[in-house]
Symmetry: D2
């Protein structure tokens, strides 16, 4: 299998390289970037010295599409909107880790992303790569739109409830917390160490781009879904997302019935680990791995259910799920090359 | 003014010492502890070398009450329940930083704290020391029950809305995040550095003791209050609390009207800084200071209001508010000795 | 291959479990502990849920030695001194991750460790498992004493110079920095998050137990070695060691000649990556991996050489090197199961 | 007293504002910056809301020098070299926090700073503001060159030994560690949170600009001084410097004699706290304060002395010492307005 990575010097690209190094079916990797033509990858990432011997190539769609069987787009906004179709036509399948192809409605896209949407045809072809819930469509897809980090944590946490229609569809509140790596490798004031350490911040209040992505998938599962509240926060750590979700149930359920919904949904899904025993996951318990861990608590005083979902944003929230999708597309076991135990402590 | 600090070797005691060192009216400080009789304070806290020359004394109520005009109880659960009245009888006023005297209903106390409540008389005498909202009662009190760290952040954030009855009283959800110093100085697995760094945790889901404390005060302000949802989380930082609060309004209000409620409430309160300009505070912006900073965002899509309130849990959430209460009790300007600019970065 | 891990609930045990999960030759793992008989491993370590299905067993030498072909001792001081020989006699080879068997001279041991040394016979049989430099002896060993974390970083950094006798043997100064995981899982005041975050500490000044371990191996390489200065520091991070080493050369060498010494020593050692280009490693560049990265700078103003060596203390400094030794003992490629790319960022 | 701060939006400026807010002699502060004309300071620094009501002014020497009695230059390289003399001529004294005026020899300056030196006259007038050791010259100075953060920690730690000529002058090795705030407010890859957290780095090996500054002052104290080795490291924390210094003594001294040298030097210096009891300071023990804490250990095995010196780089290493110098220049008690107890924990 020949692989191309566009945007190899970003964190998404680096994480793909970390994970693919252990993948038994991947033989040949091409690295593309916009700016560092001819530079050895270990000059950008010294931790890859002796691991990869690759030199960065300038990206053009035709080369990338013909040199590889599958191309991962780990690129800034706009790149895959412009080039995915060309790469596809040059012969490679595409897994897009950017947000360009996630929203089906161009108006919703431009309202939240403040830029024009990709072409309708590309968006139409792109299959939303939420591995656990879209396996069939992923298997036959030639373009995958890999889910955002927050939506992955949130949707895996909410799916069993929303699909079974047990939630008041106007009650969904998501308080999400992330490490800084999701903001990418570019140095900014917000993620400057002196500004971020010993600090906890809320950001993009009521305006985060992942809001419509979550709503879109919830609406597919349940046509009565209302608007959600989604507030993201920055934690002084590098990796990890926790979504704490607050829901009003629309029917009486026992704790066992709620747990059963999760067991039925995930018992044969190797990367989702739901807990039944009033134990809650911490982000470190999935660090460096492709797991999504979920905890639940129903409060009789308020009739409210709290769902806690954690992932490593770089793995299940990006590169890991992308590889999981690659596995599914190729008919391999979805765990292939993803057998990473969380790094703890 | 002669001051006594019981529990001087805990973090609450240490923070009182830091702040009182700059207080112009405090001349004489006695330090009491349960275990380290005769030890110099700088053996426990080398950062206090040359700042304080005090030796720790074993605590007994009679001495503490007679050697001081005011005694701060910065003690583990149960100590002030047992000894506050004795200290009071020996001649000193008491400001209790523990949770022993906060809940007026003994049944609620024992249900949440899993231990018997203090004597009814002591609880009855204890004035809840939420400085900005209880000034009159504080002025004439001889026993102050200093608010918990979370309740301080939450109540200052909610007061203008709950008092003016603009909130659906069953809709209040509080997602709270704290640094580790609130857990005290005792080393535990939960706050072990290797377990806590690069990690984000939820804890005491639906069972945190500060829940009834918040509900009690909200009910005083608004007799229709329902049960709240309160979920605390641990952030890998030492100081700081952020409470992100989600509310459904029960009437149509413009953004300006909401802002006005906060301005009216806090314009003459020096330690509460409400923001109107869609800017949100981060915890570091109050680090080491007695400020509570508040931000607001109303979302038309959901009709939901998000209120963000931050404090330094050791200052406004503990020692700082205690000193503010001392100032009020003595008729001094409430800012006396609390003129600390946040330590930034 | 049947494996036993004694002390499975400590960090060393947990890291062995993380790494062994990807080892192709390991089929069967027994977990022993002193206290948690019958408890499932995922109750202690929720991150291992679905990864391991093991239950903890009480440790006794006979069972451990007969149920396994190889036993890792990841135990507190004294345990392997007492039980290694028994485990050996019951049939298993032993790799000891504790410090019990590292020092050949019982007097030196008891002077630095403040406890009696293990039996002479056991110490005599134990081969010092510095994989890159002791391969031949490791291959035929039945007891391995796995090096300490600091000594691994230091010795790999100094070996080419000391072996070639180019250093003034009285000039060696080592300023070492470690994350907190090396201190183990027991919660202590020193590694309490509130005490350790936003803090940098020096500890065990001139008294750290790894000092004689380093001196012992340097003396084997160069009989003129004098006493070294070794000062360890605690960094507010979980994983990683950097040793900054200061040396006076005893002869004129060009920068190229110095680099050549490292290239000759390590060019065929897959886990040691020496840099020649005045680039210096950071600890994160080996995070989660078995690499040791080394940088060098010779200063003409002072005639002093600075050598910088970094490892992940949990991997190359403990569990990783232990598995590397297991591989060598069994005639497998030393990289087997250790193909972990550093987790970056 | 009218104060001007040039470079008010950098961290040095922000720290001056934090500290000056409590200074009883300062009435009037003007804030100058290169770029943000007319912007309110709390837009740049929300933590200063209600603390300062100042608007930023564009900097020009004439205004700054005439509107203020004393101007702090907290500016990037080159600014004070160009403008100090003009500000002086316009009527104000100057305390320069940059490195522009620290090195007396222009050739040394340009060799290390890679830029031309300031005018000889300005450099000649500038008094090196190491408060504890240059008090007399500071008192009558009109231009102060405030010491660098590292040199402050190092020189206070070495002064008693070098002045008394008890050290082998070619043996001085300084292994220094700093938090990130010393690198300033500009976001860079090196101090990007995702690159810096859970990471420990060495930087500017053998090339740091503070090396000649340290050597210059040591040579003033002891004309036999040789070149020193100085290696700086970055710690994943915001504030704090620790310098671990390794010295060979040139004569036999008892531990008591060494301690006496420090006591004699610092017993009447309120901001230097030397410890005699084999206890070593951690950086947090001076956090937010103007203290320099020092610990000592003599090792008989090697005949080597280890000196540990810690400061808060933003306070004693920058703004705090600048204010201490202002106090001395004005004949006020040097502690005026600097009565900050370390923020612990």
């Amino acid at each position: 299998m020949r692989i191309g990575i566009v945007g190899a010097t970003g964190y998404g690209g680096a994480e793909l390289l970390r994970l693919l190094n252990n993948h038994p079916e991947v033989k040949n990797i091409h690295l593309y970037t916009s700016s560092k033509d001819g530079v050895h990858i270990d000059e950008t990432y010294p931790h890859l010295k002796t691991v990869y011997d690759n030199t960065l190539q300038p990206f053009n769609s035709k080369d990338a599409g013909s040199q590889s069987d599958l191309v991962f787009m780990a690129t800034p906004p706009g790149v895959s909107a412009e080039h995915t179709q060309e790469v596809r036509e040059a012969g490679a399948k595409v897994i897009d880790l950017s947000g360009d192809l996630r929203l089906k409605d161009p108006d919703v896209y431009s309202a939240w992303y403040k830029r024009p949407s990709a072409q309708a045809e590309t968006i139409h072809q792109a299959v939303y790569g939420l591995s656990e819930w879209n396996e069939e469509a992923i298997r036959s897809a030639s373009i995958i739109s890999n889910p955002g980090c927050y939506p992955t944590a949130v949707l895996l946490g909410l799916a069993p409830l929303i699909q079974q229609d047990v939630v008041d569809t106007r009650s969904v509140i998501i308080d999400a917390k992330t490490g800084t790596s999701g903001a990418g490798r570019s140095a900014t004031m917000v993620t400057h160490f002196s500004e971020m350490n010993e600090n906890f911040k809320i950001y993009q209040v009521n305006t985060h781009k992942h809001t419509p992505e979550i709503e879109q998938q919830l609406s597919i599962w349940n046509s009565n879904m209302g608007a959600i509240t989604f507030q993201p926060h920055l934690v002084p750590m590098v990796r990890g997302i926790m979504a704490t979700m607050y829901l009003q149930l629309n029917k009486q359920l026992t704790v066992e019935q709620i747990a059963d919904l999760y067991n039925e949904a995930y018992d044969n899904k190797p990367f989702v680990r739901a807990r039944n025993n009033h134990s809650f996951p911490a982000t470190k318990e999935v660090y460096g791995s492709n797991y999504c861990d979920i905890g639940l608590s129903y409060d009789e005083r308020t009739g409210r259910l709290t769902v806690v979902s954690v992932i490593d944003n770089m793995v299940k929230g990006a590169a890991g799920q992308a590889i999981q999708n690659m596995n599914i597309m190729n008919g391999w076991d979805e765990k292939t090359g993803l057998n990473f135990t969380p790094v703890y402590p």
